[in-house]
Subunit: 334 residues, 2 copies
DNA sequence: TTGTATGCGTTATCAA
DNA sequence: TTGATAACGCATACAA
């Protein structure tokens, strides 16, 4: 069996209480006793059992990170930002994925709240129902929302509308007018704030330039995948509305699929159809033509989220940026 | 405060023991009592506190996944495989990253063993020292190693030597003879099993065809990154050894960098220099020319690892594949 | 079929 | 400066 506080206490000839105090760095213990105990801790290789500690404190030293999938490019980049922060070893990062099951979101959050009892939660593009949020507040567990927001939660956001606007505005200024949008599902309530905001940016850029919106140029996709892009390209070629540009709000991976399939079917990018992506993941600079896209400071968002979480744990007030501005990166595809 | 087993017991008029038994599905409880208790659990929204449960069981319901970085392509694909398995909600997936600090590997594993007390550990390309492995065995915590192996651990592997061999063999049969290798650091002890095996595959393919190995055609890189590829391309152009092909054992991302930079500096791929990658991540089919590469069944490896972990928890014997064979996927770059 | 008693490892409160 | 005692929520051996 593992070494416990009791073993140390017995070995040194003090009580568990005293050992516990030394372990936690309480200054009231005399130097002599402290040194004896620290010596024993080293010799006997004692390590605190986090489970016992959590039980008595009513809370585990966990930061829960919740996402639809941790394998998506966006989540990965967020995780990079989170991992770039030096997190104290005693704080655990737990991952929970809904695996795309929207109906499970609230249930998962409740499960995390009551059964895991974390210090705080970082939610990636996910938002549970209002009564769940209330329960979190009641229990004093903070939720940090990335790409979502709610009254009593801190959130880390990018201005999606501005990002989309800048992309479409650019296309129009380059002389394009039959501009389509490849978007995530619009009607889909949960976790679709970003989708809607980008769509709004697209429409407002059009109307600002006096171009009327044609619903035939809206292509909705579900998975933000390369394959979605290929499928979208088929629709673009098939639909009679005609296109001279596509703003791929569904992200670079999908944009890469669009470009690939357009090329395969004889359409020149950007000559026949210009393509602008969203995210600026590495693939954007690797494909040919390289992708003009809206850069998202995703890494920084992850870094910000973990800072907020740690500040909350340390009872400090977070005072840094929380809203990031995306930036159009011009390359070859538009 | 949250609802506990005691609250339920008081409400129904039984003891906590009885409630506990119902929660865990013990069949000895009479239907009448069981139903009353289940009713109360629903009404009062009781959820078991995993911390209490873990304490008394001496083990938390955690599967720890350890990796250098969770943001690497390889880890991401492994995570996809892990996530594709339906994991019972009461089992938690914890992530621990060494963040590339090799000297922290053993310490991190000990920390996980004694302070987290997980059910099992999935180690991605990481191997702690032997005495740490012994301690895990003594505590009955199983380590499942991906891309590594040790006496008393289950491991999930690919035959790297065979994969590298098939790539280089293919290049030679296509008429290339001045074949370089872009590899991870060879001398680097920890976590470098795969690097060495691929290098061996490269050499044995050469020697099988009577081509002598020229150390000037070995380019070592550190980070498996796109930038590493760019740097490698510079060396390829600069070195007097001459190249008509490059086997990029350091992976597709690096291969993409090599190709990009060769093209930028006027070298035609594959006409002047053929390039073969390793991994077959999505980028391989997206770049131009698309990348001939060795497909790694990384997803399946992750899926296998989580199955091994769950089988261990359920005290079943895992009986599936554990060694995967990579397969050369021929595209345009070679 | 249900209850009693005990303990898991740690910390908090209060007393000495 | 240290110790005694109780408590956190749950599970288990054993008794009834």
């Amino acid at each position: 069996m593992a070494v416990t506080i009791k073993d140390i206490a017995k070995h040194v000839g003090v009580t568990p209480t005293t050992v516990s105090m030394v372990v936690r760095g309480d200054t009231r213990i005399s130097t002599a006793t402290r040194e004896k105990i620290q010596q024993a801790i080293k010799e006997m290789k004692y390590r605190p059992n986090y489970i016992g500690r959590s039980l008595v404190r009513g809370r585990s030293n966990v930061i829960a990170v919740v996402s639809g999938f941790f394998s998506s490019m966006f989540s990965v980049e967020i995780m990079k930002g989170i991992e770039s922060k030096l997190i104290p070893v005693e704080i655990k990062l737990n991952q929970y994925a809904t695996r795309g099951m929207k109906e499970r979101v609230s249930e998962l959050f409740r499960e995390i709240l009551y059964s895991v009892r974390p210090q705080s939660v970082i939610s990636i593009s996910l938002k549970p129902e209002d009564d769940v949020l209330m329960e979190f507040q009641k229990e004093g567990v903070k939720i940090i929302m990335i790409e979502e927001s709610a009254g009593n939660c801190q959130s880390v956001k990018v201005d999606n509308e501005k990002g989309a606007f800048s992309a479409v505005d650019y296309l129009i200024k380059k002389g394009r007018s039959k501009i389509g949008i490849v978007s995530g599902k619009l009607e889909d309530g949960t976790g679709a704030a970003a989708v809607l905001e980008r769509f709004n940016g697209y429409r407002s850029a059009l109307s600002m330039h006096g171009i009327s919106y044609d619903p035939k140029r809206l292509i909705e996709t579900a998975n933000f995948s390369f394959e979605d892009g290929i499928e979208s390209a088929h629709k673009i070629k098939k639909w009679d509305a005609g296109f001279d540009a596509v703003f791929c709000a569904a992200g670079d991976m999908t944009a890469a699929g669009v470009i690939r399939e357009l090329q395969e079917t004889g359409t020149k990018v950007p000559d026949d159809i210009a393509v602008v992506g969203y995210d600026d993941i590495i693939i954007a600079s690797v494909i040919k033509p390289s992708l003009t896209t809206v850069h998202q400071p995703i890494f920084e968002m992850g870094y910000t989220a973990i800072n907020m979480a740690l500040d909350h744990i340390n009872k400090k007030e977070y005072t840094g940026p929380a809203v990031f501005t995306p930036k159009l990166v011009i390359r070859e595809s538009a």
